[in-house]
């Protein structure tokens, strides 16, 4: 086992609840607390911001190369020592981003798999990726 894998080997109990349908947001939370639910604001101003920033969604987001993500949804940033817990949906999306898929490809996959509308997903996706950026888990130079 490599050095990085050793860090990843830590397993924690992640949220194991079924993926809700239609998709709801419970993507990411701090590990050291009870998994935090990021509430999605649902106001007109939020929607306005969302439309304004829709371009960001279209760009390709990259997760930092050194971020370790285990199958359980445990995320470890070796640069800061911070760790996070993703629920299964969040993990699925992070893995899709990490595999280099574009937003459109991710959207297609999620629409095929889950009962939801594209507009809602886009809003949730933007909210989620903004959180990832705030947590400095994305590569600041990684966007196309």
């Amino acid at each position: 086992m490599g050095k990085r894998e050793e860090g990843r080997a830590t397993r924690i109990q992640s949220e194991t609840s079924e993926v809700p349908k239609p998709l709801r947001l419970l993507f990411i939370g701090f590990l050291n607390q009870v998994t935090k639910v990021i509430e999605t604001p649902n106001t007109d101003s939020y929607l306005h911001d969302w439309i304004k920033n829709a371009q960001i969604i279209q760009s390709m987001l990259k997760i930092k190369k050194n971020i370790a993500i285990s199958d359980s949804g445990f995320v470890f940033d070796p640069g800061t020592g911070d760790s996070y817990s993703l629920n299964p949906t969040g993990l699925e999306i992070v893995q899709l981003i990490k595999s280099g898929k574009s937003y459109q490809e991710i959207l297609q996959e999620m629409l095929a798999k889950y009962d939801m509308d594209g507009e809602s997903f886009e809003r949730y996706f933007y909210d989620f990726t903004t959180t990832l950026k705030q947590m400095r888990l994305t590569d600041p130079h990684g966007e196309d």
Binding site: K3, R4, E6, G7, T10, A68, P78, G79, T80, G81
Partner: protein
């Protein structure tokens, strides 16, 4: 390979809520595949836990406080050496380092080896000299000034913005938000650790640390960066995790190579939200969390002893990232007879 039998005397056996590094250093030495150590504890207080931890400490001697002067301490060391034939001595307290550095030559003549910073290295990294240190070696440091009285601060108040950090020359640091608080902390620290008190610019960010070992020729033998994940109300790390941080390591290598640092050190750094590193302190010894470095693959206590013995030590090239420590407290049951023996005879 056969292990080298060595008698190693060390202090810092106060494995309490603000722990000394003696026990973690001992654990590193006990883990060594190269050294078969006999550990001689040097204790200042009858209630330090180390002397009663017989699976780690073979024999303990009480020693006089450094403030009693060099001669009483040397006399006691001479007595212990006669009985135990000490090969290497590792002082683990900041407050005793000066005394042992001053006595390095005498100890060497007695046949006791140490591996300590030089007096110049020790003096120039003092908290009160930090701005000059930063300027000399091109390192970001927060602005600071030493003061001898609270009224001294009035004269330099314009140079600072609140909050500021009020620091003792050896230990203790408090964040003060106004002049009144500076006065309170000044008196509190001065009563315990003496003067000067250092007033330091407050740099907002995350505290990160590096434990490192320099060979005295500018080479870094080992270095492991860490972030405290749990901090006690005394500011001590009760949990920590090793980091992958090339910038912190580069800074450590730079400091060690430019100063030709000899011995163990702990770098205390602040990483700002802009990802800039500020050095807030260099502790001239291995820290109490050194066993995390051992567990991550760098047995720095072992390397320090081998360097003290004049042996060649190859620099460590890797460590495990994401290795964690979680400190815990434990009620050790001790026999009154042992306490009596240490209290009355000064030996256990």
């Amino acid at each position: 390979m056969e292990k080298i039998k060595l008698t190693i005397a060390l202090s810092g056996l106060n494995n309490i809520d603000s722990p000394g590094p003696g026990i973690p250093v001992t654990r590193g030495l006990r883990d060594s595949l190269k050294i078969d150590p006999k550990i001689i504890g040097l204790a200042y207080d009858n209630l330090e836990p180390g002397p009663y931890m017989h699976e780690l400490i073979d024999k303990t001697y009480k020693v006089p406080y450094p403030s009693d002067g060099i001669e009483p301490l040397l006399e006691r060391i001479r007595y212990i050496h006669e009985k135990e034939h000490i090969d290497v001595l590792i002082p683990n307290f900041d407050s005793e380092l000066f005394t042992f550095m001053k006595s390095e030559k005498i100890l060497k003549e007695m046949g006791i080896r140490t591996f300590l910073p030089t007096m110049q290295q020790f003096e120039e990294r003092h908290k009160s000299n930090l701005p000059q240190f930063g300027e000399k070696y091109g390192i970001n440091v927060p602005y600071s000034e030493p003061i001898g009285s609270i009224m001294d601060f009035r004269k330099i108040e314009d140079k600072f913005e609140y909050p500021v950090v009020v620091k003792g020359k050896f230990y203790d640091a408090y964040i003060a938000y106004d002049f009144e608080q500076i006065g309170i902390y000044f008196n509190k620290i001065a009563a315990k650790w003496g003067l000067p008190i250092v007033i330091q610019e407050f740099v907002k960010g995350t505290e990160v640390n590096v434990v490192a070992l320099g060979d005295g020729n500018g080479n870094t033998i080992g270095a492991v960066p860490m972030r405290k994940t749990y901090i006690t109300d005394k500011g001590k790390g009760w949990g920590g995790i090793t980091l992958e941080d090339p910038v912190m390591l580069e800074l450590t290598h730079k400091i060690i190579s430019q100063t030709n640092w000899r011995g163990g050190m702990e770098l205390e750094l602040i990483r700002t939200s802009d990802n800039e590193l500020y050095m807030i302190e260099i502790n001239p010894r291995l820290p109490a969390w050194v066993y995390l470095a051992v567990a991550a693959g760098q047995n720095l206590p072992e390397a320090l002893v081998l360097l003290a013995m004049g042996m060649e030590v190859k620099p460590f090239t890797h460590y495990d990232v994401g290795k964690m420590f979680i400190r815990y407290s434990y009620d050790m049951i001790c026999d009154l007879k042992e306490f009596e023996q240490l209290s009355t005879k000064g030996e256990l």
